[in-house]
């Protein structure tokens, strides 16, 4: 394969890298936030367009099998670009992001996005680790972006400590895997795992250590402890990005890694089984139940909206893990669909908090009191986001949950289904609590919230997208089903 082809397949990331360098230089010279923002938005849109073009290329490995080009990766790259774009627009007006340092902020955010895009395409242990580190290290800086703020410092330090521990463990697991199989490429590892007998104890050790690394990114129990503090301490738009993009990337790489390496496709197409002696699916089922229950129960008692949404995002990781457990195509497409909906609803909810936070300089839930009476549009959008997070029809969150539950039914995993259902009911209580504050309580004082039109338009679009996902999701589902092709299976 010639170098030009390699570069073409990597071109979205290249565009982002160019954008990053160019916009930062321009920012240093002109110090004009509007120009910087326009440049970055232009770059992101160009990258997104490029991804759409890349859909025409057949799936293949490139850069000496370091990366794989397939529709599965492209799907996630698109999600990251959308999240990054929306986050940037909301950061522009955020009081937490100092105008003088906006250039650095876009630099960091773009770097995370590049890391995430590379991560979901990784098919080699080295690329996997390097891109994961790129994501992690830039994330630590982003979390501590409000350096004058105590909570932000705490967030960065906590993130760093937990992250270092997680990636260290992951690295150890990866080296063990390399030592056991003698290979670094996912496909070769899979082949050698199947060809020779390997001590199950050794395999379980590898599995556990690699799982620690991924679970940290997905914020799955018991590796979730960093999440609430980090999300609360980070600037709100950054927290929105953290709860969405790295988490979804964690799922993407988990799927690629575990389905390519630790599973075999059965004779029935679209169904996998774990390697013999290595029943990781059952362990994952338990963790999924624990993650959603813990996330929801903790969210019940939060007074800070960001913290509550942080716990709720842990619970949603638990829901998405239900799709991993069933090891079939239905489960995977359920995860991807849920990821798509989750991007819209979780970003939306965080952005509303961000708007409030700009106005009140605080994120207590009590600030929502009477919002529906003085800012009906904002409150209405928030209601859509929250009820979609709960999983009420006719919103996208409901359809996402239906697909996840459906995956469990198709595998007859009724106990996990039962846990998922109880969690849905529990979660209604705290989501509806905000709705109650917004509409059932009258505002304590006369005031009006000025929200820029761009932000209103984005919130409206996200809410509208949720209704579309809830009422006519057919085309999206077909798109997602076709996105489930990893390179090897072609």
């Amino acid at each position: 394969m010639n170098i030009l082809m390699n570069l073409t397949l990597y071109s979205p990331e290249l565009i982002l890298i160019l954008t990053l360098g160019f916009s930062f230089t321009i920012h240093l010279i002109l110090k004009n936030r509007v120009i910087t923002l326009s440049l970055v938005v232009f770059g992101l849109l160009a990258a997104a367009l490029d991804i759409l073009v890349l859909y025409a290329y057949p799936g293949q490995l490139y850069f000496s099998s370091q990366l794989s080009h397939d529709v599965f990766g492209l799907f996630f790259k698109l999600l990251f670009l959308i999240s990054c774009l929306l986050t940037l627009i909301f950061s522009y007006d955020s009081h937490e992001i100092h105008p003088d340092r906006f250039g650095e902020f876009t630099l960091l955010l773009l770097a995370v996005t590049i890391g995430l895009s590379t991560l979901v395409a990784a098919s080699h242990l080295l690329t996997l680790y390097l891109s994961l580190e790129l994501v992690s290290i830039t994330s630590y800086v982003l979390a501590g972006y409000r350096r004058e703020h105590l909570l932000s410092n705490e967030a960065a330090f906590k993130y760093l400590l937990y992250g270092a521990f997680a990636s260290g463990t992951l690295l150890y697991g990866l080296s063990l895997l390399y030592g056991t199989t003698g290979n670094l490429s996912f496909y070769s590892i899979h082949a050698s795992l199947n060809s020779a007998y390997i001590d199950p104890f050794n395999l379980y050790a590898i599995l556990f250590m690699i799982f620690v690394g991924f679970a940290f990114k997905m914020s799955a129990v018991p590796f979730h402890m960093w999440a609430p503090d980090v999300y609360q301490g980070s600037p709100t738009p950054v927290a929105a990005f953290f709860t969405v993009a790295p988490k979804i990337a964690g799922f993407a790489i988990f799927i690629r890694f575990f389905y390519l390496i630790f599973s075999n496709e059965t004779v029935v197409p679209g169904q996998w089984e774990p390697l013999p002696y290595l029943n990781w699916a059952s362990v994952l089922a338990l963790l999924s139940a624990a993650t959603m229950t813990l996330g929801n129960l903790s969210a019940l008692f939060q007074k800070n909206a960001k913290r509550m949404l942080a716990y709720s995002s842990i619970a949603h990781a638990g829901y998405m893990m239900m799709g991993l457990v069933v090891l079939n195509q239905t489960g995977l497409s359920a995860i991807l669909f849920y990821a798509l909906v989750y991007v819209c609803m979780n970003l939306g909810a965080f952005f509303v908090v961000s708007v409030l936070s700009n106005h009140f300089q605080s994120e207590e839930i009590s600030l929502f009191k009477g919002l529906g009476w003085h800012s009906p549009f904002l409150a209405l959008c928030m209601t859509f986001f929250l009820f979609s997070l709960t999983g009420l029809p006719p919103l996208g969150g409901f359809i996402g949950k239906v697909y996840l539950f459906w995956a469990l039914v198709s595998k007859e995993l009724y106990w996990l289904l039962w846990v998922g259902i109880l969690n849905t009911v529990i979660s209604l209580y705290y989501y509806a609590y905000i709705v109650k504050e917004m509409f059932l309580e009258r505002p304590s004082s006369k005031m009006s919230l000025q929200v820029p039109y761009v932000q209103q338009a984005i919130l409206g679009m996200l809410a509208f997208a949720l209704i579309v996902f809830g009422l006519y999701w057919e085309p999206f589902y077909i798109w997602i089903q076709s996105s489930l092709t990893f390179t090897i299976f072609q």
């Binding site: 539950f405 039914v409 198709s410 209604l428 509409f439 999701w473 057919e474």
Partner: protein, 512 residues
């Protein structure tokens, strides 16, 4: 065009109305009111056309519209009416129209109120028309949100608690229903959500499986699904012990919303059982029927005793509230519906469905009447009145009519349905039926006692210049009063409407 899509027009006219009301300027309060009235009047007319063109001889769905919605999941937009749903559709459009008139006096957040109200009507009509389980479920949940806001924003002092309790209870029930829905889809061959397809023999085949290490046979699994579905519907009916949300929600909701709650929402549970559980899981329904009869009896007696307690207990102990009395009497009256449904006889099931309709008209009257007095004196204490009979004669006449209709006085509509239920159930459960008739005596006791406390005896001097019923209030009450009397004397129009479909439903159980 109109006839082919009659049901869609009927369901979605209120949605259009909701959008229009939401776009009107909030200063134009009368515009908001009149356009809401218009957009509830149109469905009423459409349901009138439906009624006139309904073929009573057919047992199957009529006015069917079925188009593919989500082909990959085999979901259809499928609506139709049969003898079971038509009475409830008529009841829904009528009560919604009357409730808009009854809501005329609301001032705060008028636009929001009527938007929510119209959305609620669309949801209710959708439930009674849908015969695709997925569509049914969407409408079922769609109705929950406006109800939450209507109770929570425009309700009484404990509105928040009442609204969230209602919401949590119903959501719990509906997620159970969701499991059943997915299971039906999974175990049907070919996979389908169509309720009519699912009710055909041989479509559903359950497997034996293990849950939590307990092995279940296919039959046991089907029973488990039946119980899940039953709980989902039982919460709505409400069946003891899932009834605790009801008194609270009914008491805290504003008058028109109490009317909708009691008049229509309570019917949805029983309707769901008849529409989904009965035809799709007939063996399990039959197996469960004894329990259903006992639960019906418990509802009758327990509801009546709770209503009685409203008279005997002082206010400090949660008694002495006229609205609560009516709410509990609803629980008692829904017991008759359950008893009639549990026996699979022609009389029983006709009585049950007819009782659903009659309960809708009489409770609607009762709640409207409580609203009338509450608007004037701002309390609902049963012993806070006395001797009102001479001051407000027309009001007294209406209350007496509604009370007598509720307690099942011969010549009024509830009498017919209750007697049908008892005739049907006596054949199957004679001793249980005898105990159940006690409920009638209890009902008579608390209604007459309340009547005496409010309207007879010495006049409470505070209320000697109380205004009698206004023309607007009369407009909401008169159609219901006429229905109660006419159907009490000549119930055949209503019974004929439902006959073919109910007979068809019973054929499923004759072999069991």
């Amino acid at each position: 065009m109109l006839y082919e899509h009659l049901l869609s027009f009927m369901i979605f006219t209120p949605v259009v109305g909701m959008l229009i009301v939401a776009l009107l300027p909030s200063s134009q309060k009368n515009w908001v009111r009149w356009s809401s009235l218009l957009f509830t009047f149109l469905p009423l007319c459409l349901s009138g056309i439906l009624f006139l063109n309904f073929d009573q001889a057919l047992a199957d769905m009529q006015f069917v519209e079925k188009t593919s919605w989500i082909p990959t999941f085999n979901i259809h937009y499928a609506v139709g009416v049969d003898g079971l749903s038509i009475t409830l559709i008529l009841l829904t459009t009528l009560l919604s129209f009357l409730c808009v008139i009854a809501s005329w006096g609301i001032e705060a957040g008028l636009k929001g109120y009527f938007s929510m109200f119209l959305l609620l009507e669309a949801g209710m009509l959708g439930i009674f028309c849908a015969f695709d389980f997925f569509l049914f479920y969407i409408f079922w949940e769609l109705m929950l949100l406006p109800m939450y806001f209507l109770i929570g924003i425009w309700g009484g002092p404990r509105k928040e608690y009442a609204a969230i309790k209602f919401f949590l209870y119903t959501l719990f029930g509906s997620v159970l229903m969701l499991v059943v829905m997915l299971a039906f889809y999974f175990y049907s061959d070919p996979h389908t959500f169509d309720l009519i397809e699912l009710s055909k023999a041989g479509i559903l085949k359950f497997n034996a499986l293990d849950i939590f290490g307990i092995s279940l046979s296919a039959e046991q699994f089907a029973k488990l699904l039946f119980i899940f579905l039953f709980i989902g519907f039982a919460i709505k009916v409400p069946i003891f012990p899932f009834h605790t949300w009801l008194p609270l929600a009914h008491v805290e909701a504003p008058t028109p919303i109490s009317v909708i709650l009691a008049g229509i929402l309570l019917k949805m549970g029983a309707y769901g059982l008849l529409r989904i559980s009965y035809p799709i899981l007939p063996h399990e329904t039959y197996w469960f029927s004894d329990a259903l009869a006992v639960l019906g009896l418990v509802n009758i007696i327990y509801g009546a005793l709770c209503a009685m307690a409203q008279i005997t207990l002082p206010e400090a102990k949660g008694g002495n509230d006229l609205k609560k009395l009516i709410a509990y009497s609803s629980i008692s009256h829904m017991g008759y519906v359950l008893l009639g449904m549990s026996v699979f006889t022609v009389e029983g099931i006709h009585g049950a469905v007819f009782q659903m309709f009659n309960h809708g008209t009489t409770t609607a009257m009762l709640f409207l009447l409580v609203g009338v007095i509450y608007d004037r004196v701002h309390h609902r204490k049963i012993d806070g009145f006395g001797g009102l009979g001479n001051v407000v004669p027309i009001y007294t006449a209406f209350v007496s009519l509604a009370f007598f209709a509720s307690l099942g006085l011969p010549g009024l509509s509830s009498f017919i349905s209750e007697i049908l239920v008892f005739l049907g159930s006596f054949k199957v459960y004679p001793s249980l039926t005898i105990v159940a008739t006690l409920g009638i005596i209890l009902n008579a006791a608390f209604f007459l006692w309340a009547l005496q406390k409010i309207f007879l005896g010495p006049l409470n001097p505070t209320y000697k210049s109380l205004k009698d019923i206004s023309a607007r209030e009369l407009l909401t009450l008169a159609p219901l009063a006429i229905l109660v009397i006419v159907l009490g004397v000549y119930p055949m129009p209503a019974l004929d409407l439902m006959k073919s479909s109910l007979d068809h439903l019973l054929t499923l159980f004759q072999a069991l």
